[in-house]
Symmetry: C2
Amino acid sequence: MTQGFSVLPVVGIGDVRPGADLAGLIRDAAPWIEDGDILVVTSKVISKTEGQLVEIPLDEPARETAREAVLRAETARVVARRGATRIVQTHHGFVLAAAGIDASNVDPTHLVLLPKDPDASARWLRDEFRERFGLAVAVVVTDTMGRPWRLGLTDVAIGAAGIDALTDYRGRRDAYGNELQLTQMAVVDELAAAADLVKGKTDQVPVAVVRGLPIRTEGHGTGAAELIRGADADLFSLGTAEAVARGLRVSAEVTDAAAFQPGPVTLPDLPFPRTRSVIVPDNTAVAIVAWAPVGDLARAVEVGMEIQRLRAVLAADGLATVWIEAGDDPRLTADVPEGGVPLGVLAIGRGSLPSL
Amino acid sequence: MTQGFSVLPVVGIGDVRPGADLAGLIRDAAPWIEDGDILVVTSKVISKTEGQLVEIPLDEPARETAREAVLRAETARVVARRGATRIVQTHHGFVLAAAGIDASNVDPTHLVLLPKDPDASARWLRDEFRERFGLAVAVVVTDTMGRPWRLGLTDVAIGAAGIDALTDYRGRRDAYGNELQLTQMAVVDELAAAADLVKGKTDQVPVAVVRGLPIRTEGHGTGAAELIRGADADLFSLGTAEAVARGLRVSAEVTDAAAFQPGPVTLPDLPFPRTRSVIVPDNTAVAIVAWAPVGDLARAVEVGMEIQRLRAVLAADGLATVWIEAGDDPRLTADVPEGGVPLGVLAIGRGSLPSL
């Protein structure tokens, strides 16, 4: 049997209070920890050790108000909300429900926040084991997170020391000579997940030991912060409902495009029936002539509304527009029925909104 | 030391061809597999066994065209795209890059698709081990996926038999008596992640064995399909750019709200300067009176555009509007400067668009 690795629960740590000697508690509960082990530690015991607790009233509505205030303080950016659920990006950069604030496994008068700097906590615990017990271990600090598209939570890494967060396979080749693409594996997240299988949620097993996988002998490595994908690089930086709302707001900014390039474009199928006030000569048109009956202000307002709706739909397809008032341009009169007066031309071309 | 579990690589399986005896290959490579083991199997060897391969030309541009066609066929719904990256939902319901189609670890003339029904594949392999070798094992079929917000890929489960996909902690209480909330853990995903730590990507280790965790003695369980979160229940069912574009399109549908309820509303800060053609009497207004100089069709068109832009911004804040043409209503004249004529009133209230 080729060598694999094992995952061992550390039981008997008991309740951890602010200022507790966490390294000592782990060492006492698991005197069998040895060189090369990876300690996978639930962030909650780190937070408790570090005093990352907030007092909270027991009774509503004061409890909910206090909870809201704590959530606001821990939030760098709201990513999505639905009902009472709030997915936020924390000041660390992690995206998770309720900023990782937790009311479980703590007495009801307190909330537990995430550690202030989980990578620093991991480095500290690693150093403690080296300095006090002469043991070279790696440390992964974990939290439980949900994810889009898949039900169920998994544990992931929010801090790491002594092991690199990512294993990079890019540039390597498989047995067929194909170069592997895009294969950076989040090793510390996989370690966090593996450890959760013996930790559970109510069992008071806040630490597991992974034995048999390589760790760094020198340096702490990059830390789990390396796993944070910036919102700019993320295809899912906002919840769908929030992004749709942003689109609605952006539609108000759809006016004359600064970077307009006239030229033949393919018009999309427009999703609402056009009234007689807008004429699309044919499907390769690059301009729409708008008109109204002579002197009919009410129809002119309608035309304006419709032009703006058209512009938004065209912008969604990456098409830019410029509205040119008709003035007295006699060339437009041919496109207008008898009794009508040209209002203007909506030129359609390439370009984009600065805010898109 | 309390019992934990171990993860053991299965080496020596070698290349797997369509129609191969996968159960036999695994058993031969790992005669040490025993009752209660969990076989964590990379989907690629399942796909190869089942002949889920597509021939593809070696040369561009034919190769890219063929790849595109395969991707289209495997796609139920495009979730997000940026450049060459396409995140799609497959017919199984999984959301992943390029529908899980893979060109690595296969000869360059073929692409590997995901198994048609990975839960069925897991059940089949479990049954094979029971019937042919008299062994009660569980099976997890894995694939490698990216995720929003975090860099690096992890292995997750796309098929399972003999072990339940989710462990449900809801309703259970912690040591402090707090009821645990929302704590369904995706156990099979954590198993997939754990197994990847010994499998690697180029090492030809397509199977790992997890030993020491409980499996089902009867029934196959719910399968990994249980982990699929429907788009309706997902806060991130669309990429941000795609959802913003949807918002732009929806803005064209922002017209008179069917479910309009007049009443006092708080107007949001409107993000563009209002021109003289729109009057907001005060910030608790529920109606905006629009006017234009007598006979000025061009200004009336502008007012229409602006009304539509206002409506979109208001809709983003959940406010509905109804546009009422002025007609000859003398009550409006007081709100209009000398030389102007009232065009209509935009009533603002509660309500929502059917499509939001």
